[in-house]
Symmetry: C2
Subunit: 338 residues, 2 copies
Amino acid sequence: MPDTTTAPTIDDVAREAGVSTATVSRVINDPDLVTVKTRERVQAAIETLGYTPNFAARFMAAKRTFTIGAIIPTMENAIFARGLQAFQEELHRRGYTLLVSSSAYKSKVEEEQIRNLVARGADGLLLIGHDRDQAIYDYLDRQHVPVLVAWSYDTNAHAPCIGFDNRAAMQALTEDVIKMGHRRLAMISGVSEQNDRARLRIAGVRDAMAAQGLDPASLDPIEVPYNIADGQAAFVELIARETKPSVVLCGNDVLAAGAIRGAEQLNMKVPDDVSITGFDDIELAQVVRPELTTMHVPHRAMGQMAAQELVGMIEEKRKGVSQNLKASIVRRASVRAL
Amino acid sequence: MPDTTTAPTIDDVAREAGVSTATVSRVINDPDLVTVKTRERVQAAIETLGYTPNFAARFMAAKRTFTIGAIIPTMENAIFARGLQAFQEELHRRGYTLLVSSSAYKSKVEEEQIRNLVARGADGLLLIGHDRDQAIYDYLDRQHVPVLVAWSYDTNAHAPCIGFDNRAAMQALTEDVIKMGHRRLAMISGVSEQNDRARLRIAGVRDAMAAQGLDPASLDPIEVPYNIADGQAAFVELIARETKPSVVLCGNDVLAAGAIRGAEQLNMKVPDDVSITGFDDIELAQVVRPELTTMHVPHRAMGQMAAQELVGMIEEKRKGVSQNLKASIVRRASVRAL
DNA sequence: TTGTAGGCGTTATCAG
DNA sequence: CTGATAACGCCTACAA
């Protein structure tokens, strides 16, 4: 009598089907190696017992899990949602499962999650941005876990990446704004510590200022967490400065949405009294009024390509090749020419 | 010479520290059982080798992973984000790691993810809503994996739940609207198949209509996926009907945001020409213009309580106890009295 | 085509 | 307090 109080194992299936465990294993992993007849018998046994292979055991024996881990800074806003969705879809298509954790933008937490996912046998990891301790890369190296970085392109970095040039993109957007006549620039940035995207976007604004004859040092960005309330508060603070900005460049669309609220709060009209730009072009950018002028990021392409590349690295045991995707300016109503 | 091409194991640590593997295991899992001296020696060895215990092996031996799995319908919009964040934080506080997958509202995918998480040794599972095949609950039962359902309260269901009464909440919101003078109601719902939240919200609208002397059968909800574009299209379709609605009740805030865009597209003023309501009270509700009258759901409380309850079920090996949280109407500018 | 048996990295039991 | 050693469930040579 089978033990129903515990999950069925491959032994139970073997016994039920009257074959060896090796045969059961084969019909699961390489069905062609088994006669149709026995295969069917085994499958029936699996069915009636409701057997599911135990991943842990499988992993220990085979060292493969067909699982990929992704650690994103946050699930609270939609910044990574679309890209991750595409990543997951492509992974699914290739027979991999995605496990995701969020680090709340805390590097300690991220490290913990990385170790966790690795210890759990993730065949590969997707990380956002390059900024993290070298020790983590060393660890990943020792564990032979392929890592791919997304959302940021930087060939000098330790890991291959599928992303875009945050700095150049922000420079382009800023130059566009300057060319529309803006001279008094202000910026609301995400917290730049351990966040290359935020850091590089600030640098991009300064690049543009320098290129257009403005003083880069005069930019004094406010750094706040990426959420609407903080963006709003930062905007109010910015407007209170002695030289009131004509445009507020935001590190992302969420912050920009907050800035728009800040403007409302101060009874300022956007873009008549002040222009505002975002970054990322998430759905939110078209929901707020006025719609945001922002930098469009190819979220889905990035996610999909990342999946392809990471799976390639795993299956072909090769180094990843980085890709620099194109981000492009989307001009909408939140900026006006002066 | 230690093998540096492969991850260090407990054996390596034991050798390095000159103790047995059992001792190493002890300093990791129950440090008090070991002398301070040997403990320190072992910890040093762990440090220098960069050792991380292998979860799979650990799971096989101990049958515990301190991991909890959550499967949410989507990560693309923020509906579940805040609650999940709170869930994760509470879990982290209690020493558990959260692994999340998204099912894209597809029951087949969800089932796959469930099996995956279980096979992977999840100590417990968080699922959204009650609607799924009985077979899945049976499977979970056989595997002795505790399950908790969130976002929906229903004591007749197979699993304990931490949620709110979707039906009663929607009824309350609808009655509120009716009492403001609205008689021509229309609804944009999420796809209700395998989605009790959507289904119950429709029922709630009908309950309210019946209670207020309107004909429930006259409601002919349009069901679309939960996203802005579909909400917009549905709104346009609704307005084209022969009896133009005075209020459009939406299954959630995302759909409502879409409806607002639909109104803009048709040059209708909200709430002057048509009122619109949402559900969930996510951040989006306060970003759109006009701000949404909606049903506030206690996302964070729900997530936190779910974590507490699920951990309790796991650690005390007991049945879960359901909780009916209170959702409350938030009146903002998208509805006007007639 | 199928079966046998060793090993994967830990934990836990039982001695010492 | 510490050390052997037997599981845990599966995969994979190797044999038959």
